[in-house]
């Protein structure tokens, strides 16, 4: 029931061992492992600090540094390969401030965002958030944009955020950057970008029952008939532009 690939890596194969320090304790682990797999190799069973194992869920924010180095380094445990002598700790949870709001009511303006997150004004521009981001996001830039009321810029700059919380854990002004970011993204998506009119139109047509008859016929078609309709259906060419139209419009 266990994964052969996963196992072979846990066992380490022929990879040379390097020392790492998990919360201060020394373990020798194969140098090909990610921090996450190194923890498992060392004997930990992960419950906290492990989610998608693919770099997108934000469960495994990790802080590390090297002896005598002045620099605090950050990474996602599932994406960062071990290096000799790294001192590691995971930050699987950090308390965060999240304000409840009604997305229909809040306007996409700086003062509205500040009303929901007044601590925004405490930002002193130290840039520690940006240095703490494992996704290389310009965190301080989007915070500045939010304060200025440039919601679109705050949304775009923060788009790749995985909400791991490392920024919030290190902010001397006690901001929760990632919750401010998702507010800005939703305000942008909801109130600044124009709505998709074609989608609204299609929903209306569906609700009026416009496609009911054609779909009912399809549902009653036998396998042979369906195979023929499927094989003969008109394909939109790969490189067709947005406004391509099919020659047969019977079922549109």
């Amino acid at each position: 029931m266990s994964d052969a690939g996963e196992k072979s890596r846990i066992e380490g194969g022929e990879a040379p061992l390097v020392p790492i320090y998990i919360m201060g304790s020394k373990h020798d682990v194969p140098d090909t492992l990610t921090i996450q797999k190194a923890l498992e190799y060392a004997g930990y069973q992960l419950i906290r600090g492990c989610g998608c194992r693919g770099g997108i869920c934000g469960a495994c924010g990790t802080v590390y540094r090297f002896p005598d180095s002045p620099k605090i380094e950050v990474g996602l445990a599932c994406q960062t390969v071990v290096q000799p002598n790294m001192y590691i700790t995971q930050i699987p949870f950090f308390p965060a401030n999240k304000t409840a709001y009604d997305i229909d009511e809040v306007k996409p303006a700086g003062e509205e965002v500040i009303k929901l997150y007044p601590e925004l004004l405490k930002c002193m521009g130290c840039n520690t958030c940006t240095k703490s981001c494992p996704m290389d996001i310009e965190v301080m830039e989007y915070i500045s944009a939010a304060i200025r009321g440039d919601i679109a810029r705050a949304a775009e700059l923060s788009f790749s955020c995985v909400m791991c919380g490392l920024c919030a854990s290190r902010c001397p002004a006690e901001l929760c950057q990632y919750n401010i970011a998702i507010l800005c993204r939703r305000l942008y998506g909801k109130h600044i970008v124009p709505r998709a009119q074609h989608t609204i139109d299609k929903v209306k047509k569906i609700e009026e029952g416009y496609f009911d008859k054609a779909l009912k016929e399809l549902m009653e078609t036998d396998r042979k008939g369906l195979e023929k309709l499927y094989t003969d259906r008109e394909n939109e060419p790969e490189m067709a532009d947005e406004y391509w139209e099919p020659s047969d419009k019977t079922y549109l």
Binding site: A4, G13, L33, C52, L187, R195, A196, V203, T231, M239
Partner: protein, 557 residues
């Protein structure tokens, strides 16, 4: 870091054939797609589903005799993690209108709609709220919402063709007609999907689609959906409570045979807790972490098929579990990224798949099962795969074509997540191709349910990957994010209405578990011993040998 000198040399061959392939693409010349008969033959010969000895018949329960992956059968033939007699059902720890098991996309969509229909909701989830396969979905979501070129009619045909024409027609009709409503909902919630300046959704092709109807948010479409739904659920915390690190391990029924709650196991304090509910939705997702046939997987850490076990013990049949989906393009290099999902959007945006000689060998937009089987064929019988360390093979996914076709910066704009991820490993995917191989990705089938989300057990509803029928024997890309939203929303409404109007009070019982455990004893307890699994076993065997006083219950210490 980056590619080895040997692989760098092989990339030169890909670079040599690239300009001509780009020109062909620009002229609209594609490899011919396989006919239905050719598809069938390719699957039979090369798809892992057809490997002898992979499936085995279930020996007990409502789908006795049905042959499915043996890794799932092992768990179905296991007992409960606890002794039912040790559970005191007269003490209820949590009470709610609607209990939702699973805090991924389907569960959260269900929670929002149930709340809108007046229900108090409790979401229980194994890891954190949002730690789910939804978060990892990349390429996008299908919806036939462009009136001048597409309609639910064509979406229906594509879904049926991809699923080998055996899908449940009613479920498919629901999927395709609800799809535009989901996109309209996303717009209202403020999700940042890719759009043209006038607000029109930008859309691409996917494998097996006849119209460009894949809507995406960069290459993190699932994350955009998941984090927005979760944010909205948190805005409604008055009515929606979330319990994390508390997976359900069994359903609780009542004396009328209706579903009336669940038993939870707190992964941190090791306590069991009871939940009493008027209606229950299973939205536990898939089972990639069972590593069927020892395959690497794209799935998240908690995808161990728990919902299948719980639902089956309560009497719900299984369907379409005899096929398993392998995503054609899982990363196979570097080793640290192995199994990592490379979105189908890469092919949708124009990248070829090529062999060691830099030649195309398959049409890039075949349905996933056919595409995967073709990669396996190229690496085995044809012998033109690219050797990777550890005796593995891969094929090239030629991502640099995208910038050549659509202008410099397109990879950065369309695939920002993958670009940064591979950069960490010293590979620039806008300039170098990726090495990929089919990877365990999706549970095509699951618990039987209908277009209202109902199961044969009153009060028990199903939504998302844990259910079976809508995708037939093979799901198309972009229909999973759609499935979880369509059927999540429907299950939420159905459960709230049921809780308000039909739920019948009654004495709680785990007798169905007692009976099931007895059946397990009769057929012989399988190798899994206890189920659901909850978390996969990645323990280090050397360490384990020294843990002489540690106690493992299944895979959990």
């Amino acid at each position: 870091m980056g590619y080895t000198p040997e692989l760098k040399n092989l990339i030169k061959i890909v670079e040599k054939t690239r300009p001509e392939r780009v020109e062909r693409k620009k002229r609209g010349e594609e490899m011919p797609a396989l006919s239905l008969a050719e598809r069938e033959e390719r699957l039979r010969k090369y798809h892992p589903d057809f490997i002898e000895g992979n499936r085995r018949e279930i020996t007990l329960g409502p789908s006795k005799g049905y042959a499915i992956s043996k890794e799932i059968v092992d768990l179905l033939e296991a007992k409960s993690r606890y002794e039912p007699d040790d559970i005191n059902l007269s003490e209820v720890d949590y009470e709610t209108d609607v209990l939702i098991i699973g805090g991924g996309g389907a569960g959260t969509a269900a929670a929002l709609l149930a709340q809108e229909h007046g229900a108090k909701v409790l979401i229980v989830t194994k890891l954190r709220h949002g730690d789910a396969n939804t978060m990892m979905a990349e390429g996008g979501i299908q919806a036939a919402d462009k009136g001048d070129k597409d309609s639910p009619y064509y979406h229906y045909l594509d879904v049926m063709g991809g699923g080998h024409f055996v899908n449940d027609p009613e479920l498919v009709k629901t999927l395709v007609t609800e799809a535009p409503k989901v996109l309209e909902w996303f717009d209202r919630l403020g999700m940042m999907f890719d759009k043209l300046p006038d607000g029109r959704f930008y859309s691409l092709h996917g494998g097996g689609t006849c119209r460009k109807r894949m809507h995406a948010a960069g290459d993190i479409s699932g994350a955009e959906i998941m984090r927005t739904l979760r944010d909205e659920a948190r805005n409604r915390k008055k009515d929606i409570t979330v319990l994390e690190f508390s997976p359900a391990v069994d359903l609780i029924l009542n004396e009328h045979g209706h579903c009336a709650g669940a038993l939870l196991y707190n992964l941190e304090t090791k306590e069991y807790h009871t939940v009493k509910a008027k209606a229950v939705i299973i939205a536990t997702g898939g089972s990639g972490r069972l590593h069927i046939q020892n395959s690497m997987t794209t799935n998240h850490y908690g995808a161990t098929g728990d919902g299948l076990i719980m639902g089956y013990r309560a009497g719900v049949k299984l369907c379409f579990l005899h096929t398993v989906q392998y995503h054609p393009t899982g990363a196979i290099f570097p080793e640290q990224a192995e199994g990592l999902l490379i979105t189908e959007k890469v092919r949708g945006a124009g990248a070829n798949v090529v062999n060691i000689d830099g030649e195309q060998f398959v049409y890039e937009r075949e349905p996933r099962d056919v595409e995967s089987a073709s990669f396996i064929r190229e690496c085995t019988d044809v012998g033109k795969g690219i050797p990777v360390s550890g005796g593995k093979w891969g094929v090239w996914l030629d991502s640099p074509m995208i910038d050549m076709l659509s202008g410099p910066g397109t990879v950065e704009k369309e695939l920002p997540g993958k670009l940064i991820l591979f950069k960490r490993y010293g590979i620039d995917i806008s300039k170098e191709p990726m090495l990929v191989y089919p990877t365990l990705h999706y549970q095509n089938g699951g618990l039987e349910y209908d277009s209202k989300g109902e199961t044969c057990v009153p009060g028990l509803f199903v939504a998302g990957e844990v259910g079976g029928g809508v995708h037939g024997e093979n799901r198309l890309m972009g229909n999973s994010l759609l499935d979880i939203n369509v059927f999540g929303r429907i299950a939420g409404v159905s459960a709230a209405v049921y809780a308000g109007e039909k739920a019948k009070e009654g004495k709680l019982t785990l007798d169905h578990i007692r009976d099931y455990n007895k059946e397990v004893d009769k057929v012989g307890v399988g190798p899994a011993k206890v189920a659901p699994m909850l978390l996969p076993d990645y323990s280090n065997p050397e360490v384990r040998k020294r843990q002489i006083t540690a106690c493992y219950e299944g895979t959990l210490r």
